[in-house]
């Protein structure tokens, strides 16, 4: 069996398992944990388009999750528009905001860019928390928005069981991974990588670095907002501090960094390792030791950055490569 065949078979196997998992895992609690796992993996993969491929460090991305949630929810609550359409509108709004944010900030040096993303995100969050009504739109300030139960249907984006949600987020995750893979092999991917690594050299080769970064930003924000709508429809309630706060922004960035920014598997692996860790520490230890899960999170982050700044994917994929070469009898020649 060739190496390529092995890779494809394994991928297919993983896909099969993931799709068939709900047959085995039927408890709603565990399904919810899996759903949130995919949700975070999706968010981190979308973040990766800017934070990994474009080589900058946006630390305020949760604001786009919020924009997606608020847009689709307001459209549903006040105008009766289906959340699916609201989702797309939310994505476009987020892309627009992202580009407005990126235009002046991409030329700033690394640390200032980070601070700017934080300032923008917190600024918007603070404004949302302060506004009850924006013209005809009812935003409800810090109390957040509650989505009333409707007749469960696809059009209403509400379902009785967790199962449809599971498959929706799974399909979204697969699509976004495929998109990332495709981009990394295309002109825009090469241009992003070049502009991120050596902007002067890239410019001398015809790359408009600022524009490619803006494109990545718009795409990333669009995709991130879609997840915001998903979350709103899953939980039927959200509020500014929870969905647009720095905690979520940082968690997204950290997962990608620990997993390996700039790689395709990195964000997913990061989510696979960190989300269960977070959840279980929080569930079982939070009463005795509040905040322990975040201490551990911070510790892991520091350790990974000290010893494997490229992320966990690098050693893992090296290990996998050795194993795969051994299995397919292609050891040695590299």
């Amino acid at each position: 069996m060739s190496r390529k065949q092995l890779d494809h078979t394994l991928l297919g196997l993983v896909g099969l398992i993931v799709f068939a998992l709900p047959l085995v895992v039927t408890s709603p609690t565990y399904l919810q944990i899996l759903i949130l796992l995919f949700f975070y993996a999706y968010l981190t993969t979308s973040w990766n388009l800017v934070g990994g491929f474009a080589g900058v460090l946006p630390l305020g991305h949760s604001v786009f999750v919020g924009i997606g949630a608020y847009t689709s929810t307001i459209l549903t609550l006040q105008y009766g528009i289906s959340p699916w359409i609201g989702m797309l509108v939310g994505g476009l709004v987020a892309a627009l905001v992202g580009v407005i944010m990126g235009l002046p900030t991409f030329r700033l040096r690394g640390a200032y860019f980070c601070l700017c993303t934080i300032a923008f995100a917190e600024g918007i969050r603070v404004m949302v928390e302060n506004i009850d009504n924006l013209g005809p739109l009812h935003i409800n300030g810090p109390r957040g928005l509650l989505i009333p139960l409707k007749e469960p249907s696809f059009w209403h984006y509400q379902f009785m069981s967790k199962l449809p949600y599971y498959y929706i987020i799974l399909v979204m995750l697969i699509l976004v991974l495929a998109l990332t893979w495709f981009i990394s092999r295309s002109k825009i991917g090469y241009y992003l990588a070049a502009g991120g690594e050596e902007p002067e050299a890239a410019a001398a080769l015809g790359v408009n670095v600022a524009n490619t970064k803006l494109f990545a930003m718009a795409l990333s924000c669009f995709l991130t907002a879609l997840a915001g709508t998903f979350y709103a429809q899953l939980m039927l309630y959200f509020y500014p501090k929870g969905l647009m706060g720095l905690d979520l922004s940082f968690e997204i960035a950290f997962i990608a960094l620990i997993g390996g920014r700039g790689t395709i598997a990195g964000p997913v692996i990061g989510a696979l390792v960190l989300r269960p860790l977070n959840e279980f520490t929080r569930i079982y230890l939070s009463d005795m030791l509040p905040g322990l899960h975040l201490v551990i999170f911070g510790l892991i982050l520091i350790l990974v950055m000290l010893y494997k700044p490229q992320g966990l994917t690098a050693p893992l994929s090296a290990f996998y490569n050795r194993l795969a070469d051994r299995l397919t009898g292609q050891g040695g020649a590299k």
Binding site: A194, A201, A203, A204, L205, V207
Partner: protein, 242 residues
């Protein structure tokens, strides 16, 4: 014969320092022109203005008759001006092929075509055996070739080579001279900054000498090396009278 590059009255001031002063220079299509001068004469500044990294304080630059001094570097590359950097800037974490493909993508959107073009360019520069090596793991001579390969993949009409001979051993210098001559045969006009006089003599059709930002001589390599002002500039006043 048409002029591919026309520089007139070009000046650049950095605060109180005048790096380049009232420079006039023309480059004919298919020529190899060398810009030489003592260290700090302003040569790289001239290149940076032609490439679009600095805006001129005065004067203008015309490429194929079109004024370009307001265009951004990536637009100039699109128009046909490519450059290398004196301190090479490879995309170190990527392979040699990847590096050149970035340049090749300028003229195509297809990954397949870009790869094909990159492979051709690598073959021209005898780098194809290194195509899968990370750029960070190359020798200095190979890095200089990669620098040229990247620029060449953009299909330029004018190639600016900034001290590509620096740091090379004599045999490597000879190889590089052959490569550059080969580029001219392919139809690329070449504008070099160079310190290695052997290369300048062997390569250039014409030479322009600048000192303290001003042109002090121009002509064939032989004419220029006999010019009294040039000798004074390089070696000091006592050597002037010949």
């Amino acid at each position: 014969m048409s002029n591919i590059l026309e520089i007139s009255n070009l000046s650049k001031h950095f605060g109180g320092l005048t790096a380049v002063s009232a420079l006039d220079l023309t480059l004919a299509k298919g020529e190899i022109l060398a810009l030489i001068g003592p260290n700090g004469a302003g040569k790289s500044t001239v290149f940076n203005m032609v490439a679009g990294v600095y805006a001129p304080s005065e004067g203008d630059i015309r490429f194929n008759g079109r004024p370009v001094h307001r265009e951004k570097p990536w637009d100039r590359c699109r128009m046909g001006i490519a450059r290398t950097f004196q301190i090479v800037k490879p995309f170190a974490s990527k392979t040699v092929l990847y590096n050149v493909m970035v340049g090749a993508y300028l003229r195509t959107n297809s990954t397949e075509k870009a790869r094909h073009k990159a492979e051709e360019v690598l073959a021209t520069l005898a780098l194809d055996h290194l195509r899968d090596r990370p750029a960070a793991n190359l020798t200095i001579a190979d890095r200089k070739r990669l620098e040229i390969a990247k620029a060449l993949a953009t299909d330029p009409q004018l190639l600016l080579l900034d001290e590509v001979m620096a740091g090379l051993r004599p045999t490597e210098v000879d190889d590089m001279i052959a490569i550059i001559k080969g580029l001219r045969d392919q139809g690329v006009t070449v504008f070099v900054i160079e310190h290695i006089m052997r290369a300048v003599m062997a390569l250039s059709d014409r030479v322009v000498v600048i000192h303290f930002g001003q042109k002090i001589a121009q002509g064939t390599p032989e004419e220029v090396t006999r010019d009294e002002n040039v000798i004074k500039a390089y070696l000091g006043g006592e050597y002037g009278a010949a």
